[in-house]
């Protein structure tokens, strides 16, 4: 009869989503579609004509290379958008976390509810990308199915750490810098737009430790069937190693801030 606490927290967010779902869903489709068309087909028409590109991309079109990675970048961008101001707002401006803290909910349950909400929120956006991939013949693949949860796992890593950052701030002054100095560089250098191997030697290891690269590789590997089991498990393990401490930090920060 009882419902998990995180689901009960999610119910509140879903009521709010119900008010804005039309614009939300439209935007979820529109943004990745624009990226896919603009970059995949636009830039792709330049790239695909070059002899060296088939070597670097492995005999696939640029759109095919780019598309699956957008699953992971979309998850990351959604996580960043929904975990900075909304999280600080829950503490400071609308008091929604404070209201939860006064009930039988505990801080870890509030955190779990927040993460579950982000999973739903990212799921909508990533789902939009998945539909675009399924429509395009070169990326249509059963591999999209495991790629979606892989993208969500990658997005949860960002959710955890960005939520932790927001929960530890008194003001939102640093938030646009998080977007500019963390999210945008990762977006550009995380291997979604070109293989990390084309980066200068010194930069490659940086890409390898960032969670986005592992998310992009997982998604691309699943969709294009280029991933071995060991590799896949390796990527998942790295993402888990990023996620778990971030989650623990969130639990602590929420407890400290809500019960002080």
């Amino acid at each position: 009869m009882t419902t998990p606490a995180s689901v009960r927290v999610l119910e509140m967010q879903m009521l709010l989503l119900k008010r804005i779902w039309k614009t939300n869903l439209t935007l979820s489709f529109l943004q990745p579609l624009l990226f896919f068309l603009g970059m995949g087909l636009g830039v792709g028409s330049l790239v695909d004509d070059r002899a060296s590109s088939s070597e670097a991309l492995g005999d696939i079109s640029y759109a095919t290379f780019l598309g699956p990675g957008l699953l992971a970048t979309t998850a990351m961008l959604t996580a960043a958008g929904e975990s900075l101001w909304p999280v600080l707002g829950g503490f400071k401006w609308d008091g929604s976390y404070e209201a939860m803290a006064a009930t039988r909910l505990t801080a870890p349950q509030v955190v779990r509810g927040q993460f579950l909400w982000l999973a739903v929120r990212m799921g909508i956006a990533v789902g939009g990308v998945a539909v675009v991939l399924a429509v395009h013949p070169d990326t249509r693949s059963w591999g999209i199915l495991p790629a979606v949860p892989a993208a969500l796992l990658c997005g949860l890593v960002f959710t955890a750490w960005i939520t932790a950052w927001a929960a530890s701030r008194e003001y939102d002054t640093s938030f646009s810098n998080v977007q500019r100095l963390v999210i945008t560089p990762l977006f550009l250098f995380g291997g979604a737009f070109y293989p990390v191997d084309s980066l200068p030697d010194a930069l490659r290891p940086v890409a390898w430790v960032t969670p986005l690269w592992h998310g992009v590789e997982l998604c691309r590997g699943f969709v294009l069937h280029t991933l071995g089991m060991t590799e896949a498990l390796g990527h998942v393990a790295v993402l888990a190693i990023w996620l778990i401490p971030g989650w623990i930090v969130c639990d602590r920060l929420f407890a400290k801030r809500l019960y002080r």
């Binding site: 009960r8 509140m12 009521l15 609308d94 008091g95 209201a99 009930t103 039988r104 002080r260």
Partner: protein, 311 residues
């Protein structure tokens, strides 16, 4: 009945520090189930810090605190499950409807959805907001929001209801509606604990109260007891005009039991205000205005702390 034999609140030498600042400096409080209990004091007296510890959302710095016989440090969730809370600042969800605000909150307590809907409707009726149940919270007045917060706090049918300055910032009419609702809860046997810096509120709602000042309890008792102990039956208020009240102190000595000279008036504490006024006139003093009234908690507070409650 075993639950009810426990005190609802038992605090011993309770303190709360924020860094170097000691907000609560060792207080002893015991509240019986079904009692209406108040923390009266000015801003910064430590009322809200005490309240947050009782609500199980703020760790105790030292001393002991038991709520329903349970330790909030280890049974916070269990305690909060049996409490209703009305925080000082409204934290309703402005974008949701009134009904949804209550349902969502009820769900935090894992109350089945259908039951939440039934309770929410019943409580909206109780706080006289039924007609607006599908409207959005943003459109409500301050008094209505406070009533909705009260309804929300009752969703889990709490044994004890905590209200932190429930009527601060509300107009007199809104305050009276709210007092009426709280009085009904009290009649239903709900333990009420409230903080206030309004003495009339404390007199209206509290069976017993403590007066807090600078983190300490300076007096405890029923409103009547406190007035009897720290004040006289009546008070004569004399106004001699701006700036000249203090000059008259010397000539008033001996009238009534005690004098209190404030910036705008002189208070003469006497069991019989009218005969004190007669004495003032006999001494040839001509105040611009005079008023005989019953003693209030404001007088108690003035006596105990040397300061007025509402600055």
């Amino acid at each position: 009945m075993t639950v009810n034999e426990q005190p609802a609140i038992r605090a011993k030498s309770l303190t709360k520090k924020f860094g170097d600042f000691e907000a609560v400096r060792g207080i002893d409080v015991e509240v019986r189930p079904g009692e209406s209990f108040g923390f009266l004091g000015p801003n910064g007296a430590g009322k809200s810090s005490t309240m947050r510890m009782i609500a199980g959302v703020s760790p105790v710095t030292s001393g002991t605190l038991e709520i329903f016989g349970l330790n909030p440090a280890t049974h916070g969730s269990e305690i909060r499950n049996r409490l209703g809370v009305v925080p000082q600042a409204d934290n309703l969800d402005g974008e949701l409807t009134l009904l949804d605000n209550l349902i969502v909150y009820g769900r935090y307590f894992d109350i089945p959805r259908a039951e939440c809907v039934a309770r929410a409707k019943e409580l909206l009726d109780f706080v006289q907001l039924s007609e607006r149940s599908s409207g959005r919270v943003e459109s409500l007045s301050g008094g209505m929001k406070r009533r909705l917060t009260i309804a929300r706090g009752l969703m889990n049918r709490p044994e004890m209801f905590l209200l932190d300055e429930p009527t601060t910032g509300l107009d007199p009419q809104a305050r009276h509606i709210l007092w009426d609702r709280l009085y009904r809860l009290k009649q239903q046997g709900v333990t009420l604990v409230l903080t206030t810096h309004y003495m009339d509120e404390a007199e209206q709602l509290c069976d017993r109260l403590v007066v807090m000042d600078a983190g300490r309890i300076v007096a405890e008792g029923s409103p009547r007891e406190l007035i009897t102990r720290y004040s006289t039956r009546e008070v004569l208020e004399l106004r001699f005009g701006a700036g000249s009240n203090a000059e008259h102190e010397g000539r008033l000595l001996g009238v009534g039991d005690r004098l209190e000279v404030l910036a705008d008036r002189v208070l003469v504490y006497a069991d019989d205000g009218e005969s004190a006024l007669h004495e003032v006139h006999t001494r040839g003093l001509q105040p611009e205005s005079s008023l005989v009234r019953r003693s209030s908690l404001e007088d108690v507070f003035l006596r105990l702390t040397g300061r007025s409650l509402e600055e």
